[in-house]
């Protein structure tokens, strides 16, 4: 079977606008969805879910959110950890204040709240860019963590200062708390991932996405041809915050269950998600997934190969991981700013011509 678009003629603009214009891609995409929803849940155990699937899914949402801001709109942010914390604490407060409302809505509203907070901290972007904006968002990161540590109302005055996710169900099946099943938490997160990716894709292929990219590529020209820079940047911060907030809420409620803010949502989290989109590909939804998968899998693979198979000491493997990630970041920034997603595109382009490269 050749990877081809020949014979796959577009007869309308809506068909030409599809997310996957090539038939094999489209079929492949539905296949992945089918496997993700109908096959994977039956094969999961606790180890797989906790070590790989939940972090992959949840970081994918965060990476999509950050990619909208950085990759599509060109606004730097080092505050992702802090914004994930907003999602987590908003979700916690909602879960404990309105226990009768379904957690599904709590997560979405937590995303909305994070979107608003993100807009507030994004306001400086109207005046400052690049390095200075990065510093401003870094300040947001430290401020938010400090705030959630310092104001007991956020953690319901608990003695430990931690927040703990109470048990909540969807259709009678527990998705948070101590007694969850692997497949249930996985499916709950998967629904959010698919919806997030779909919404992000729709926004980025339409007028909103074009305005973001116009601001990213040349803000002055964008304004002169009619892009309102205020609205474009604010909407990018809002949408980005929405997704990051959802990921923070899931990270706390479904994945960790209990959170100490500085530990779970510190500055390292901000960098981790940023590295995901740099390695995966700036300005690409697929790249957000690729980057999240890569950085979630890397430590697992290194541990299996290095520690378990080769018998290296654990701390050496941990250091090796840092070296690999650092090296890759530099490599991608210099050689391929569009990351793994671009490598994938180039491969597909070659396949399209194969076996007759001329």
């Amino acid at each position: 079977m050749f990877y081809r678009e020949a014979g796959d003629f577009k007869t309308s603009y809506s068909k030409d606008n599809q997310t996957f214009p090539i038939k094999i891609d489209r079929v492949g995409y539905y296949l992945v969805l089918l496997v993700a929803f109908l096959v994977v849940p039956f094969m999961l155990n606790d180890y797989w879910v906790n070590a790989i699937f939940l972090p992959f899914l949840i970081y994918s949402i965060a990476a999509i959110g950050l990619n909208i801001l950085v990759g599509y709109c060109g606004q730097v942010s080092l505050g992702t950890g802090g914004f994930m914390a907003v999602g987590a604490y908003a979700c916690y407060k909602l879960m404990t204040t309105f226990p009768d409302i379904n957690i599904f809505f709590h997560v979405i509203i937590a995303g909305g709240i994070t979107g608003l907070v993100c807009v507030v901290f994004g306001l400086p972007s109207l005046r400052i860019k690049g390095f200075y904006l990065a510093v401003a968002t870094l300040a947001a990161q430290f401020f938010l963590v400090w705030l959630f540590n310092r104001v007991p109302w956020f953690y319901n005055y608990s003695a430990s200062g931690q927040i703990n996710a109470p048990e909540r169900t969807v259709f009678g099946i527990e998705v948070t708390g101590a007694n969850t099943e692997a497949w249930a938490t996985y499916l709950f997160c998967l629904v959010f991932v698919v919806a997030s990716a779909w919404i992000a894709r729709n926004l980025t292929r339409g007028m909103t996405g074009r305005k973001w990219m116009a601001i990213r590529d040349m803000d002055i020209a964008a304004e002169i041809i009619g892009v309102n820079p205020l609205k474009a940047k604010i909407s990018a911060f809002a949408v980005s915050g929405f997704f990051v907030g959802i990921s923070g809420a899931l990270f706390f409620a479904v994945y960790l269950g209990a959170v100490e803010v500085g530990e779970a949502f510190g500055i390292t989290k901000s960098f981790l998600v940023l590295f995901m989109i740099i390695i995966g590909g700036l300005g690409s939804i697929f790249g957000s997934f690729a980057g999240a998968a890569f950085l979630v899998l890397l430590p697992v693979v290194l541990k299996v190969v290095g520690v378990d198979m080769l018998g290296w000491p654990t701390d050496m493997v941990a250091h090796l991981q840092l070296v690999i990630v650092g090296g890759l970041i530099i490599l991608f920034l210099i050689l391929e700013p569009h990351g793994l997603a671009q490598l994938w595109r180039v491969t597909k382009q070659k396949l399209r011509l194969w076996p007759f490269p001329h």
């Binding site: 309308s12 603009y13 809506s14 606008n17 919404i199 729709n202 926004l203 339409g206 007028m207 909103t208 074009r210 305005k211 990219m213 116009a214 990213r216 590529d217 040349m218 002055i220 020209a221 964008a222 304004e223 002169i224 041809i225 009619g226 892009v227 309102n228 820079p229 909407s235 949408v239 300005g283």
Partner: protein
């Protein structure tokens, strides 16, 4: 003749009343006077050229019209009303589109997306509708894509519509930028040296596009150009600037025989 009455040109096009009027514009950058007390008007349906040696203040004048520079003195009148101070995007919303002397395309986007960006004014579906790609957003996207495809056909850039702009050669970029401006269906189209750096063939193509645009869509055009042959062929009326001052204004023939203009061009080195 009064500027409020329409007239028909020799080649049969109708020139309407004044659509934009610059009144006594003065623009300073610190101590540098880029524009000194200049007034001129643009009439509906005409091709209005602005010429002058390097540094005369031509681009600055377009930037004043775009709302990118705010003049220290003077007024801009548009469609019979004095224009209040405006941001550039508000000027664009009023139907004034432009191209730039140094191409200002969105390099990371495809040709199609660049041209589609020109249709901001025509597309205003809400965020929610766009998020689910249903209703207004979807309809709008298709309708505007059709309009944009017509412009892509018109400017003969069909073959590159899915190419990222960053990979195009200079001449094609200029054309894509024109397509983006034209996609806005502007009341006034401002072109800053649309033919700079082009070879003779490309210049001929571009001249043809500008004339056809004006003829077919009735687009009012104000353009800056250094090539005198092109200016004399294309334009209905010409403003001549030198050192920020207006030294001539009239039909190509009138301007050509104006002594001040001749002096400026002979006295100042230019390319």
């Amino acid at each position: 003749m009064s500027t409020q009455e329409s007239y028909v040109t020799e080649d049969g096009r109708t020139i309407g009343p004044t659509v934009m009027e610059m009144k006594n514009i003065t623009l300073r950058f610190g101590g540098v006077k880029a524009i000194t007390d200049i007034s001129f008007d643009i009439r509906e349906g005409e091709i209005r050229a602005i010429i002058g040696p390097n540094g005369a203040g031509k681009s600055s004048m377009l930037n004043v019209i775009s709302g990118f520079y705010v003049p220290q003195e003077g007024e801009v009148w548009y469609k019979g009303k004095k224009r209040p101070p405006m941001k550039p995007y508000q000027v664009a919303e009023q139907g004034i589109a432009r191209t730039f002397q140094n191409i200002a395309l969105f390099e990371g986007m495809t040709v199609l997306d660049n041209v589609m960006t020109g249709r901001i004014r025509q597309m205003n579906a809400g965020l929610l509708s766009q998020a689910i790609w249903k209703g207004k957003a979807e309809k709008e996207e298709i309708a505007n894509r059709e309009a944009v495809e017509k412009i892509i056909d018109f400017l003969e850039i069909q073959a590159i519509r899915k190419t990222p702009v960053g990979r195009l050669p200079y001449g094609l970029k200029k054309r894509v930028e024109l397509a983006r401006a034209l996609a806005a269906e502007p009341s006034i189209l401002l072109l800053d040296e649309p033919m700079a750096g082009m070879n003779v063939e490309e210049k001929e193509d571009m001249s043809r596009f500008i004339l056809d645009m004006n003829d077919e869509f009735g687009t009012t055009i104000a353009l800056i150009e250094h090539d005198m042959g092109v200016v004399m062929d294309l334009s209905d009326r010409v403003v001549v600037m030198d050192y920020g001052k207006k030294i001539g204004d009239g039909t190509p023939d009138e301007v050509r025989s104006n002594q001040a203009v001749i002096d400026a061009y002979l006295g100042v080195a230019h390319d």
